[in-house]
Every structure is written in structure tokens, then in C-alpha cells.
């Protein structure tokens, strides 16, 4: 039972254009979401997050949109750069043993073409 889904395993975008990465979730109790970025042979690093009390959060070229009624979030990268080529994971915290663990999606590999 996958509670966080990323249905596009890969995406190619031309440099300078917009990249849109999508994430769907099934658990309506999730109230916070994070995006992580992972380069090959490195650990994931935190990119941006959004609370369910907002529908948008922006940080430079990165914007995350949340549509609670559709249980859908998306990460927009504008303009896309070759250095953005990486695997992107969305995640949501779930209660476990009195603390929280993250439920991760399967990831989307973004390739930005120069």
C-alpha cells in the first residue's frame, strides 16, 4: 500500500524551461510534505517543504503547490538548469512509535538538457 506515489519515473526538460514533478498521496491525515533531491552516489538533501495550511511555498527557483482536495502536490522548477538533473523524492511524515518516520515516494529522475 503506497501512501505516497510519484507516477512519473523520469522527466526530460530543456534548459531554461519549467520542470514539473508530481506527487500524489492517499492518507488525508498527512499535513506536511517535503521534497528531497538526490544526486548519484550522494545522500538525499532537503529541498523544500509545505504545510497543509498553505497551498504554495516558494524558495527561489523552486515552488511547491499543494491541492488538498485532490491529494496532490507538485514541484515546479523555473528556470530549469543542468545542475538540477537529479532524482527527486516527495515525502510525508507519519506517526510511528511516538515519533515520526517519513513515507517516501518512488522518485522522479529529472534530466535537464543543455
Amino acid at each position: 500500500d503506497q501512501q505516497v506515489k510519484q507516477n512519473s519515473p523520469s522527466l526530460s526538460v530543456q534548459e531554461g524551461r519549467i520542470s514539473i514533478l508530481n506527487c500524489d498521496y492517499t492518507n488525508s491525515m498527512f499535513d506536511y510534505f517535503l521534497w528531497y533531491k538526490k544526486y548519484p552516489a550522494e545522500g538525499p538533501t532537503f529541498l523544500i517543504s509545505i504545510s497543509s495550511i498553505k497551498d504554495k511555498n516558494e524558495d527561489g527557483r523552486f515552488t511547491v503547490f499543494l491541492n488538498k482536495s485532490a491529494k496532490h502536490l507538485s514541484l515546479h522548477i523555473v528556470p530549469s538548469q543542468p545542475g538540477d538533473s537529479a532524482v527527486y523524492f516527495c515525502a510525508a511524515p507519519a506517526v510511528a512509535s511516538g515519533t515520526y518516520k517519513y513515507i517516501f515516494g518512488t522518485g522522479t529522475r529529472l534530466k535537464v538538457l543543455a
Binding site: 528531497y36 552516489a41 545522500g43 511516538g98 515519533t99 518516520k101 518512488t106
Partner: protein, 114 residues
């Protein structure tokens, strides 16, 4: 600067060997996690620990065990390595308090079991 370190970046072992993967964090975090990353499957939680000597099974604990004798160190043990345990292993840590604190990841260990 926060830091999660893993004992090896690359490891090659033979089927049936006992394998130890070590993770150390210097942030005094209560929670520590072990994941494996496989193409198309994303980040899957193997085990996590919410305090010293405390552990909980994640989504795929079979074939693995863990040890947390000190707060800063979380070890993943493959009792008898098998070829299907060839993977990228990632350790992470975070504070226990609240859902809105990011996880910090180590650089990963690429394990190959022959």
C-alpha cells in the same frame, strides 16, 4: 554543520558473509533510520531507532537487524548477505520532536553482494 557519516562508500561482499554497515551522526538526534534505494522502488525503510537501544521494523526488515548501543551510532547488520541485498544503503537522522523537522542523510554505501 550537521553531519551523518557512513563507514564505507563502496563495499563488495560474498554471499553468506555477515556485513556491518555503520552510521554516525554528530547532531545529538534521537531518531535514526536505515533505508535502501533501488531503481523504481524509491527509498524503502528497513529499520529505525527512536532512542538508544530502541528499534522498530520498517517496511522491509527481513534479512536485516540493527543495533543502537550509543545515541550517535546506528548499525545495520546483514546476518547472511544475499545477492538481492545488493543496493544503495542510506542512513538518516532527525530530532524526535515534531513532524516538521527534516531528516539528514549520510552519503550512502553502495553494497554489492557477489
Amino acid at each position: 554543520d550537521v553531519k551523518v557519516t557512513q563507514s564505507s562508500r563502496y563495499l563488495v561482499k560474498r554471499t553468506g558473509e555477515k556485513v556491518f554497515l555503520e552510521c554516525v551522526q554528530d547532531m545529538d538526534h534521537e531518531n535514526m533510520f536505515w533505508y535502501r534505494q533501488d531503481p523504481g522502488l524509491g527509498l524503502r525503510l528497513i529499520y529505525f531507532s527512536y532512542d538508544v537501544k530502541m528499534k522498530e521494523k520498517g517496511d522491509i526488515p527481513e534479512g536485516y537487524s540493527v543495533s543502537r548501543e550509543k545515541k550517535e551510532r546506528f548499525s545495520l547488520i546483514l546476518e547472511s548477505a544475499s545477492t538481492n541485498q545488493t543496493s544503495m544503503y542510506l542512513c538518516a537522522s532527525r530530532v524526535a520532536e515534531g513532524a516538521y523537522n527534516e531528516q539528514f542523510f549520510g552519503p550512502g554505501t553502495r553494497l554489492t553482494v557477489l
